[in-house]
Each structure stands twice: as C-alpha cells, then as structure tokens.
C-alpha cells in the first residue's frame, strides 16, 4: 500500500559526500526504527551498498545498523524521512531512483519488502 507514494517527487538534492531524497514508509501506520530491517537504494540500475545509506528524521541521523537497535524513535505515518546515500555524489540531471523498504511487522506471517521507482531531477 502507498507504494507509489514512497518517494517524494522533486526531493532529490546533493549533500556532503552524496545525495538525498525524501521517503515515506509505505504503511497505514508508523514503525519503530528497530523494525526497519533494510532500506535499499538503487540509482540508474546500481544497487548502493547498505553501509552507504543513512536515515534522518527530526534532526537525528542513523546508519541502518544503528536503526536495528533504536527503540526510542520511529518513522511516523506519512513522515518524510531524509534518505541519504554517501556515494560521492550524482551528476546533475535526471536519475532513476528505486527505494525499497523491508519491515518486520509483528502480526504478518511474512516479511514485506515494498518499493517505488521514480525519475528525479538533480539541479545543476
């Protein structure tokens, strides 16, 4: 659900050492950060290493490993998190971004991965 609303349109920007965009949790509620098992970002067909991904909400930034043991913060319903990829940066112009999130949901008899792909432009 909400798959096609995960990546926020027009949110691609350059950051120190890489790029970022805004992402939303594809779910009807929020989740504690420890239940976000993986966030995978693919840029123009290249899967970015897990170690290069950072997740930031309300002024706090986490590696994906740090999120796994974070029990005092959450990705709220509809909240736009900044997804940062430290890949050295992207060229200006259009890029195809795929954003995949794997959650551990207590009541589901499976572990869902949901993804969204959008073309985003990086300003020169």
């Amino acid at each position: 659900m909400m798959d096609n609303k995960m990546i926020v349109e027009g949110s691609l920007q350059s950051v120190d050492g890489g790029f970022s965009f805004l992402g939303r949790l594809p779910y009807y509620r929020g989740l504690g950060l420890s239940m976000i098992e993986d966030i995978q970002v693919t840029v123009d067909g290249d899967v970015q290493p897990r170690e290069s991904v950072r997740f930031a909400v309300r002024g706090k930034t986490y590696t994906l490993d740090e999120m796994e043991t974070c029990y005092d913060n959450r990705w709220n319903f509809g909240e736009k998190a900044q997804i940062i990829v430290l890949n050295g940066g992207l060229s200006a112009g259009n890029h195809t971004i795929t954003f995949a999130v794997r959650n551990r949901v207590s009541y589901l008899p499976f572990v869902p991965t949901t993804k969204d792909t959008k073309e985003l432009a990086l300003a020169a």
């Binding site: 659900m1 909400m2 798959d3 096609n4 609303k5 939303r24 009807y28 509620r29 929020g30 989740l31 504690g32 950060l33 420890s34 239940m35 098992e37 796994e68 029990y71 005092d72 913060n73 959450r74 709220n76 319903f77 509809g78 909240e79 551990r104 949901v105 207590s106 009541y107």
Partner: protein, 348 residues
Amino acid sequence: MTSKIKRGVSLYSYQNETFQGKMSLEDCIRTSAELGAKGIEIIGEQTFWGWPEYGVASEDVDQWHRLIKQYDCTPVAHDFMLDYKRYKGREMPFEEQVASVKKDIEFGARLGMKYIRALVSIAPEVLVAAAPHAEEHNIKILIEVHAPLHFDHPWIIRHAEAFEKSGSDALGFLPDMGMFLFAFPPVWKEKFLRIGVPPAIADYVVKAYDDRVLSEYVILNVQQMGGTGPAIAMAETLRHNAAFEPKRMLDHMSRIHNIHGKFYEVTEDYVEPSIPYDQIVQVLEQGGYEGYICSEYEGNRWIEDAQEPDSVEQVRRQQVMLARLLGESEVPTIKTPAFAPTLTEAAE
C-alpha cells in the same frame, strides 16, 4: 423504527488522504460528524505521531479533545499494535508485552476511549494479565476477530475460554466484517486483471469463490490452467478469506462491543458487492447490539495503482447504506468539502 446501533468511522478509512497531508485530523472528524457518524475510532500511532516509541505531545491530545467536543463526537476505540517483534531475532518477553498493553490502556483512557483494539495475533494470556488494569481505567480490551480467523477458529475459541475463565468483563471482541466476505470483491478482480491474470482464470476464481470451493482445490486448478505468479496469488486470496456466517456472532454478543465496518467498495447505488451488510445488521439487531459500526474503508490499496482513491466518497456511500439499513430517515450528507484540492487538481 430507528435502531439502537450507532454509526462511526475508523479514521483508518481516510489513510490515503491523511498520509499525503491532504486531510487534517479536523477534516477527518468534521467529515465523519457531518455524515452523522459520530463515533470516532483511531489507530493511535496513525493519528498521533510519536506513539508509542517517544510519546505523544500533550498539545496533540488537547487538540483531539477540542475537536471531539467541537463536532459533538464520541471517542470509541484506540487500535493498538503491540509490536512483539520489536527486537530482532527474539520475541518480546511476556511481562514486557503486558506492560506495553497497560501503556495503551492508559493512552486510550487519556483520549477518552471506551475500548482499545488488540490485534488478533496477541496471546490471550497477555490480555487476561492486563485486564485488571483495563478495569481500573474503565477500558475494555477487544480482540479483533479478522479474516482468515473467525469465531469458530480454535485460536478465537481459546480467547473466548480465557476471557470467561478470567471473570473479567473488560475483555471482549471486535469483529471485522471482512470475515463475512460472501463474494469475491470486484476491485480485487480488477487489480488482478491489471497485473496480468488471464481473464479466464480470473473468472474461474470468482466463480469458485461463489461456489465455496476449498481454496487448495482452486489453487491446484489455477496451476493446471497454466496460471503463474499473479494468478496463483489471486487463487491464494481464498486461503485468507471465506464466507463465514454473520450469525456466528450471536454466541458472543455479550462480549462484542465494537464493529469494524470493513468494506472494499460501495457502488453509486449504495451496495457493498462482497460483504452482506443487510444480513449483518439483521444479526446485530437480533443479538441486541447497541454499539457502533465504524466504517473501515480498505479498497484504497486495491485501486491506488490505477487511480487516486476517493476515501471520503467511499465512506459517504457506506454511511448512506448503513443509515438506510438502520432505518434512519435522514440521508447522511457532507456539507463542507472534506479538504481543499491541491493546486494541480484544481487546475485540471
């Protein structure tokens, strides 16, 4: 004769609009109130940012009470989640689960709720252990009986037995009407056709559902018809859904205190093609039910790949349908636009 059954809305219904920030909490409550659906149910952690990990700001709770009062509504239920898989690789210990339910009891009481909803996967022992705390806060904990589970399933029978043995009237049930799915929902079929299920297979699955064929036979037949991927997924929905009978609620009426009015679609002529609301209302009346039926729109996820869901129109149609079935003379009507259109939509 007007029924004693009351109408409400679970704000879950408006998720497509609230997720995108198109509808505020005030929009949700006002729209529901204008439809005469004055019972408000929420999923605590959908409506309030912060819950449970870092808590809810007191201003947000004040705002909730102000809106409930302003629109003359009644807080009905806080649906809690209890994430017992919070820790990777190990389940949350029993005592911690009970403590977590107690926190949700307190949060429900803080919001003025009568009930808190427990997900069906939660063990009866956890709820029984939390029951005295619920009694102290004048809250009832209701386990949501939801497909594929149903009132004759051994897991639910275990809950019913544990509730009786506890002697507490703070434990009960919240049936989700999706368990009475009497026909394959048209919006499901259309979605499966869009993702590539051959029409002949889709027609067969719908017919097999009508004929009440055992899911395992349907899956095998679809495989033998050459079905793969999406076709198997369509057949597998029969594992998780079946046309159980609304009258199965009658044995449990003394513990049923809230109803999820699940629906996938209400048509322009006010019919839910897959859930038998006429029969459901009849059974509830027969059982002396006097609580709320809260709209729970879940067609959104079945159509969002093809069109933007119009949750408000869907809730309106279901409320018109319910008002008719309950013998109300007024037709529920929205007087104020639910939300302002975005600039792009306004330009279209």
